[in-house]
């Protein structure tokens, strides 16, 4: 039997693998077998890469016939920082730099909705950001309470809450956060 990797030398090593519950045997020569790390993946087919998935989901659909008009032409945005285009991002499955996230911003929520638990980060923030985040949350909560107070015609309470919001907005500006 000939080695299935180099197709030249005689196969002397048999590798048995279990793939999806099925036993698969591979035959390699001494030389090729020695190049494979026993724990590594070279023996089996590479799993589908993230770039393949991204291209299929967000690039041109693979089932589209030649000449058929595309429903949504692939976007052509370019990241001003690194020059990466959205098309390149789909091809690589990776971003070029942090600014790519700003440049491709409009497409990303849809993408993250599919591959993540949602489009919004709700976890930890670096120190400089945590203040802004906390204040924003506080403002949001007070606004809700303010609306409730207005609905219940408790105008004095609403006015008090409005002042609290103003105070927090000042603080937010000081922290460098976006008031809107």
């Amino acid at each position: 039997m000939i080695c299935e990797h180099c197709q030249q030398r005689n196969a002397t090593v048999t590798v048995t693998q279990v793939q999806n519950g099925q036993k698969v045997e591979h035959h390699y020569c001494d030389v090729c077998a020695s190049q494979f790390h026993p724990f590594h993946a070279e023996f089996k087919q590479e799993p589908i890469s993230i770039q393949q998935l991204l291209s299929n989901w967000f690039g041109s659909p693979t089932w589209q016939k030649v000449g058929e008009k595309q429903q949504t032409p692939p976007p052509q945005q370019t990241c001003p920082q690194c020059g990466f285009t959205y098309k390149q991002f789909l091809k690589e499955g990776k971003f070029g730099c942090p600014s790519c996230y700003d440049a491709f911003n409009e497409h990303l929520p849809k993408l993250f909705n599919r591959i993540q638990a949602g489009p919004q980060h709700i976890g930890k923030m670096p120190g400089a950001h945590s203040n802004v985040y906390v204040i924003k949350k506080q403002i949001e909560d007070i606004r809700k309470r303010m609306k409730l107070a207005v609905d219940e015609e408790q105008f004095e309470e609403a006015a008090k809450l409005r002042d609290e919001v103003k105070e927090l907005e000042k603080q937010l500006q000081f922290e460098g956060g976006d008031v809107s």
């Binding site: 590798v15 001494d30 980060h121 950001h129």
Partner: protein
């Protein structure tokens, strides 16, 4: 610290813990992916950018007096292929970092529980490891390092997307929590496929011990979260915790059933494995991994006494090709490696059995509990 001190120990000191979970969980790992704003990601950055990132990170680490450990720094390009491979075999660096020709470096804590990879797929990957099943402890350690480094490093972060990473699969928290588990009974009873399918639906993955694409050699699986955005760190850890606990429960149940229904076959399997490891003269890594898994199961089920889980962990690490060649002090062709592997395992296991008291109270020559 010299690289040799990291290459010689088969298992670091942090691994030497045996607790309620160590019959099934080997280790827990937390990884945080971080990048610096204003620099392109390693996929496309220039060598100059790489150097600047590396300098910023090494300065941040050397300037921080609050870090628990001292860190040794190694540039990947300065290491020989064999040295790199040993670090991969010990899970201290990723295979991807080991392949870097120009950029890429590693900062290692002296006890090897923390490794900070610089310029791998992201600028920074903080990795913390603990023995057995200690998600919270590993996360706290990683979080502490992250909190210290963020004071001097301008992390790439956006309110909406969280920590920005090179790959969209790490965005948000940048957190990957992995629990490495030995699941021989679930594998033997054919339940692993079902578990893997269920895990995928829960946004988690099960992989071989060497990450993406690697097979489950020696019945060791790595359970980790797939989702990093839209969940808090606490939620991610809680999800992994409860799923891993479920798997532990299932594995214990399967082990119990095997002991009850197939005791003789199980004993036979376990002792044959021990026999092979203590007597074989040629062992491929595949056969050695399978036998070590069976012996480990025998130890966990108390069929075999006198061999510690730590010793078995050491065997699992040191039977790998690069480690073996380092141990032998020379490059070995595959056939020779199989011979050295058999010798090394034989000596390691026999030494264990002689240093521990035999089961019959030291009266006879029976070394095994037969």
């Amino acid at each position: 610290m010299m690289i040799e001190s990291f290459l010689e120990r088969a298992t670091p000191t942090w691994m030497r813990v045996e607790d309620d979970y160590s019959d099934i969980v080997i280790s827990t790992r937390i990884r945080l992916a971080r990048n610096l704003d204003g620099y392109r990601f390693p996929l496309v950055f220039s060598e100059n950018e790489a150097l600047q990132v590396e300098q910023a990170v090494t300065h941040a680490i050397s300037d921080s007096s609050n870090l628990q450990h001292d860190y040794a720094y190694f540039a990947i390009k300065d290491l020989t292929p064999l040295q790199r491979q040993i670090l991969v075999e010990k899970h201290l660096i990723s295979p991807q970092l080991a392949k870097k020709e120009k950029v890429g470096s590693i900062l290692l804590s002296e006890d090897e529980s923390v490794s900070i990879m610089v310029n791998e797929e992201d600028h920074l990957r903080i990795q913390c490891m603990t023995a057995s099943f200690q998600l919270q402890r590993a996360y706290e350690q990683a979080n502490k390092i992250d909190r210290i480094l963020e004071k001097s490093l301008p992390y790439a972060f956006r309110d909406t997307f969280g920590y920005l990473t090179s790959c969209p699969t790490n965005i948000g928290t940048g957190l990957r929590a992995s629990v490495m588990m030995h699941l021989p009974a679930l594998t033997l009873t054919g339940q692993m496929n079902q578990i893997i399918n269920a895990m995928t639906r829960l946004g988690m993955t099960v992989r071989g011990i060497y990450g993406e694409g690697s097979e489950n050699l020696g019945n060791v699986y790595q359970v980790s979260n797939q989702i990093t955005l839209g969940k808090t760190e606490e939620d991610i850890l809680a999800d992994i915790q409860s799923v891993a606990e479920k798997i532990i429960q299932k594995e214990r149940h399967a082990r119990g059933k095997l002991m009850e229904k197939a005791n003789l076959a199980l004993e036979d399997r376990v002792y044959r494995a021990l026999g092979t490891l203590t007597h074989a003269r040629i062992l491929t890594s595949e056969e050695a991994a399978t036998c070590l898994s069976n012996v480990r199961l025998g130890v966990d089920l108390q069929l075999i006494k006198g061999i510690s889980a730590t010793a078995l962990n050491e065997c699992v690490v040191s039977m790998q090709p690069a480690f073996l060649q380092h141990y032998a002090g020379e490059a070995l062709p595959p056939a020779e490696r199989d011979r050295v592997r058999a010798k090394m395992l034989r000596e390691a296991l026999l030494a264990q059995q002689y240093t521990n008291k035999p089961m019959n109270g030291g009266k006879g020559e029976d070394l095994y509990d037969v």
